[in-house]
Symmetry: D4
Subunit: 252 residues, 8 copies
């Protein structure tokens, strides 16, 4: 039952063609999903300005291009994650403004005006191998319209590298910490700042890293309050959460 049907029903009540009892019964049978959720989704779209995103693995180039084009028509920014360079090459021919973020392996189309946001998201990595995941987080946050500063390769085994960026850390509204191996960086950063830290364990490491299980456990057990954790290698998730937080800071 869509809005038209509902309107007809109400008109029948108005015209006396339908008793209120009968109408009540019909409304009770009204599938609960038809009206309300559509509305909610509409509201969310209006309220959030959330960019459209595609998770590319498992989709053919044709599928990605088709979805990307359909999304692009809405006028918001568009993001495709975990995307092969070949796919970008094919996409570029039909969406010339699309860009390829090589390290993040992401395709992006900026259609909304970029503005410096009041709050800043810092993205920090322990090593150079963690950078692809960090870049996915950075690109995601930027596609969400947020301002990002990156601080890479400042792992705890050389504490001075991290401490030399203390000023930048203190300025951020939310910090994403990306680390593999033992993942200790999240705790150390969490101890230096008083803003939320989103920790991303990476599958970088070997042996008893168990594909990221070690930094995942490290981060979950962080002794620094303020640290929450997303899935292993989930740069996109971290970028989204950081954008959600920073948006609240920025919009006021």
């Amino acid at each position: 039952m869509d809005a038209n049907q509902l309107k007809q029903l109400l008109e029948q009540v108005q015209n006396g063609q339908l008793a209120t009892d009968k109408a009540l019964e019909k409304l009770r049978d009204l599938p609960f999903e038809s009206i309300d959720y559509a509305k909610i989704d509409h509201h969310r779209a209006l309220r959030c300005g959330t960019p459209e995103t595609i998770y590319c693995p498992g989709k053919t180039t044709e599928q990605i291009i088709e979805i990307f084009q359909r999304m692009a028509k809405k006028g918001t920014n568009v993001l495709g994650t975990r995307c092969e360079p070949e796919t970008y090459e094919a996409l570029k021919k039909v969406v010339p403004n699309a860009q390829y973020e090589q390290r993040a392996r992401a395709i992006v189309l900026y259609q909304e005006e970029k503005k410096e946001t009041e709050g800043i998201i810092a993205v920090v990595t322990a090593g150079t191998s963690d950078i692809p995941v960090a870049e996915e987080a950075r690109v995601t946050a930027e596609v969400f319209g947020q301002t990002v500063q990156t601080i890479y390769d400042v792992g705890v085994a050389g504490l001075h590298r991290l401490l030399s960026h203390n000023e930048s850390l203190q300025k951020a509204s939310v910090i994403i910490v990306v680390a593999g191996m033992e993942g200790a960086l999240a705790s150390v950063v969490g101890g230096l700042v008083s803003v939320p830290v989103i920790a991303v364990p990476t599958s970088i490491g070997y042996g008893a890293s168990f594909n990221g299980l070690a930094p995942l456990l490290t981060m979950l057990n962080s002794c620094a309050s303020g640290v929450s954790v997303v899935n292993i290698d989930n740069g996109f998730g971290a970028g989204t959460i950081a954008a959600m937080i920073n948006r609240q800071t920025s919009k006021k």
Copy 2:
């Protein structure tokens, strides 16, 4: 917004006090949950004859008695699982018809007429230590109004014990297999019959049983098709599922 409020709205439309456009808008804003779910729940209650159940651990005797009494007023059977004998002693004083199933550690109140169902649920255990979990399954299924036959202590290390009950197994519409240690019984039973087998791993065992992990994995990997698995020691869940299946057999 409850039914009364909705009725008033419709009457206002009928009386011309409210334009259809305005009414439509109000209905669109109508919280999606208010009407439909209540109805669905109501329907489910009518359709299923589902007994009321209480999971006792973590609740005080007073809370259990109060909830039990409230449930009892609906006229359906009532089941309390994982219940201490002391709680039953206290309950009996205010609900004299309540019974205590000692091995299942369950309190039950039968208020619906018991009828032999066409389909039969067989509950099978590997050892005597698995019986408490099996009894929880049996009591649950019986409280759901289903007919149950129990076949206990027929583990695979003495195959003849199991095979001597082959006839009973062949007659069942659905079979619950309860086994700890290595949990092999589910596969063997699954290979003998062509009806659904609900496997319940138990935490019985020691060492590398890892509190039921071993039989859980065994059952999930069963080479016999027809075997699905519930959580460790979850006799209640198995009894419920078996009742759901047997009810379909029986109701026609």
Copy 3:
């Protein structure tokens, strides 16, 4: 010792050629497996109309074709699971009526009349990546002669997608829920219906999904009663169990 030998023995007793004591002794030595199991298997075949099935991995194309042809002669439906397209191409030349279900990666031969069954099996997936496993379940159930309705890509992150199919869910006699990542869909569906839910965790996901361990644990711990679980990616098992349940609904 087959039936003929047994008949001879009895005739010898009848004719007085063999004393009852000697006959008793011979019968005691009779291998227990010779008569009874053959009969049981025969009975099962008659009773169940179970289709013949081949698990293809690890078998050569030649072996698959040979087994498939032998099975096809029995006149029942035939199913080959996890089958490569190349194998189907080769099979088609000798069994022209065999069909290839691409998404399920299954080869099927329908030899039994298809009839709409009274009960309906719903197959539901959380995402599009779960579809291959779901399709294996669907094809399996159909080869078993059951009627299936599919509801794909209705994961819990967009609840309205699921709720818009509530009517279909309520009509089903048994529901297969296929979900990777966090596997929450099984609990949500289990809470909406009062029929058995067969949950299939898939290995879709990354990081701490640990190849399907995460949705497996989620489903085993479902707070909704009525949910039982099969092995990771085991669409065939789920389809078989659902068919076993639905057959009971339908045959009456």
Copy 4:
């Protein structure tokens, strides 16, 4: 070397008692930690209004009382988590204004003026057993000066319970979801809102819950973007992070 010593050094330079070269050398040897960190910590205290907190387990009643009193002197709110009632009884005698939050097992002393914050933190639980962890989160956030709304016992097995609070969920700036068993609630809530969701797995459950491992993995694998996770039963951590986020919303 503290500020006084540093001042003396500078005065010696000013007075010509110390050559700049010598002073430079002394400054180079200046332990890097002495000045800067003190300042940072000071700044953090000023900037954050962070309440003082004590984690009580493993400390004697005497130790807790002594630390509590020392903290109370600073004039900020004070929070003691995981605190036994007996400890509170003893504390109350010397800090009469301290309150005991029974379900959260927390002792609190409010010394700062409570104000309704602009942003609201919603704390949601799947079951009643998850409430103690949720209450720890609520109390923590309130001690941080934030406004909290609680929505308890709205697990996914009865979806209408959750959906009936949709309006409250939509109003929140950040949502804490506390769930044991299968932990699916975080994904469902994450799919309904567009603000950060902090997921807290609880050790509630049995069998293959493995003391909270199951909901932990579920939440880490959430298909809903916007969900980050803290340690099992870590209500304090979730409350702190939510407060950090909401503070940014509120302060502008």
Copy 5:
């Protein structure tokens, strides 16, 4: 259908009271388990001289005494494992010849003549804490009528302790190695001898021993061929297997 019924059937055939066709049919329906398994079990009893055993945990003192007495009547040795001293005190009153093996926590009744067997079973432990499990193995093997030599506290951290018993090791027909902590002893013993080694991991140890998982994995991965493994702390199982092996050596 027992032997008498079968005899009657044959006599009816002999007397012409029953046609062979009818008899054949009856025999075909004969439950497969009735004859053969009884026979097999009987044979096993005759062939093996297997002692009767009771696993005591989870049984009441009354149950243990009753089962013990019933077993004792058969004239074989009787063994009760994991038995509390109190149970033995009660049993002794009715079975005065029963003995209590304190370290093994076993009750035993020797009714068969003890003879020195040709083959010898060596039971070796790494530490003193492993002795209870080793004693359970020793008692089990002795109750099975086998000759056992014990070599305790010869862990690999002091290799000379082990090597000083090399002669005894070389004389054994089968060796049981009981070890907790890192479980390395099984490999070292396996490398010194050319007879089967039954390895029993124990739950002795702390931290990353994970209740016996560490020695279990160690033993399964033994680089010495000839080592097979039983469950953690399963002295009874090891004793039984060793007796089975040694019996073959001894009976010829």
Copy 6:
């Protein structure tokens, strides 16, 4: 210090060239390994008739051929496990009598006379996929000079297949059970016989088999006494242990 040096020392004592005190001191410094171990190894070789074996993976074809030839010179049987067909092709040119066991992926050279042993080793598999591991066990035992009977594809899901081989099982002196998936076969066989059962879990299976962890745990937790376990896929180990056991049976 070898035997010659030792003899010289004794002659010096005899000749009075060396005081007993000095000789004693020299002997005390005598590396403990020089004499005794050499002897032990020598004795083992004489006593056991153990064949020479090579584990091929990680060795070049040249290395395998060289080691194989060196071993062949000793006149015992030679076994190379996990060997690629290409390696065999190269080896055959220089050791023409070497044979290739295709399913076992083993190269063997029989140089000792084959004799039927009194005891028989039965090798049993659950499925056809387990056969390669079983064949490695069979070939190993045969290279050790033992008689083997194979019973393949008798998994518990079709119990009659196993039971039809009951007679063969009863005749065996030791039984190797090879099974993947849920590994239940070991318990069932263990319950049918009274001889040692060596269980070999295989990595066959999918999903929650976790590369053989499921059958490994199943077998370790076997409720049938008499079952011990070797590493996943370790056919060689099982064959060696079975040969050690059967050799004791046979030599008398």
Copy 7:
């Protein structure tokens, strides 16, 4: 065969009572363990000054006192770990000089002269809850005669606390880092110094700490070279290793 027997043998050779051939044969049969190991152990005792140690759990007070007294007679320091206060009270009566280290739960008897060693062992903890394990390490190292400096409660969440002890860290010859929760401290300390770091994970923490598994994995995956790890809560092991290292520094 002990030294006396060996001397007799040599004298018999000297006296011509025993031919060298016979003597050689006897020596070849000489159990390899009798001489050499005794010597080695003796040498070790002389060389190392290793204190005698008792692991108390699982031993009765009587046993502990007896062993302690026997050890005390050798004149070296004596250490009893994981010892209850009651045991110490009993011991003190017979060994009045024994001391009780309360936080380490250790009993110690100093009989060797304490000297300041050249090298210093630093023992560092992340939190106050880690102190008991750290104290066990400290006491162990001191009983080994080494000089220890403790730096407690300097976890990474408050980096300045650690950095304020940088000077002490730089002076140490070897550092023991004791940390629970996420265990990040080992990496941070490892990055600050260029001496060996012995990391001890503790079982302090909750939820996904999994009784110390989290810090264990963290420490094993440390990105700082120079960090090796001992078992969870194994303060004794860490103290021993640190003493072994520091002794080499100190003895020259």
Copy 8:
């Protein structure tokens, strides 16, 4: 703020251009990292003679060559680990003195004079498959300027092989034990010596080795005191730690 800026500040104070109060304030704002860490790092370089090292995986040949050349200019030894032969071939053209350690897969450039150190590091392996990891440890220690002796293929299954090197073991100052499969060698070596043992589990093995988890647990649970553990396959880490320890022995 670098040294120049600091000097200017002091001169301004000296000249009266800057009040001490103002200078104090500026110094308080002085970024804590600028001076001290630079100095510390410088000191560490001077003090340690630590070679420069590159972890090659994930870096392009161009990157490796560039970093290697830059490091080489400092005059210390240079080490590149986990390096492909092709990379070495390319490097050799521009750094002709670089050598390739084939088994260790390491590129090394010796620029410091090699001297025999007083202490010796022994590197021991259980099998030949463990040699690559052992060689990485050896090369690392040698690049650190330490003297190494290797003892390969002395696993515990053939104890005499190990014991024949007892003399070498006793001479070492620190021992690296590299072992896969069950990893028992570390405990046996730890029991023979009284110097620190660094245990390196390797991923060699199959089945329940779980890629090195089995030897890792074995080594962590070693009953021999003196054993600490590094990550699976981490030869570089072990070599570094051993060098750190041996350097202390040698420098005095």
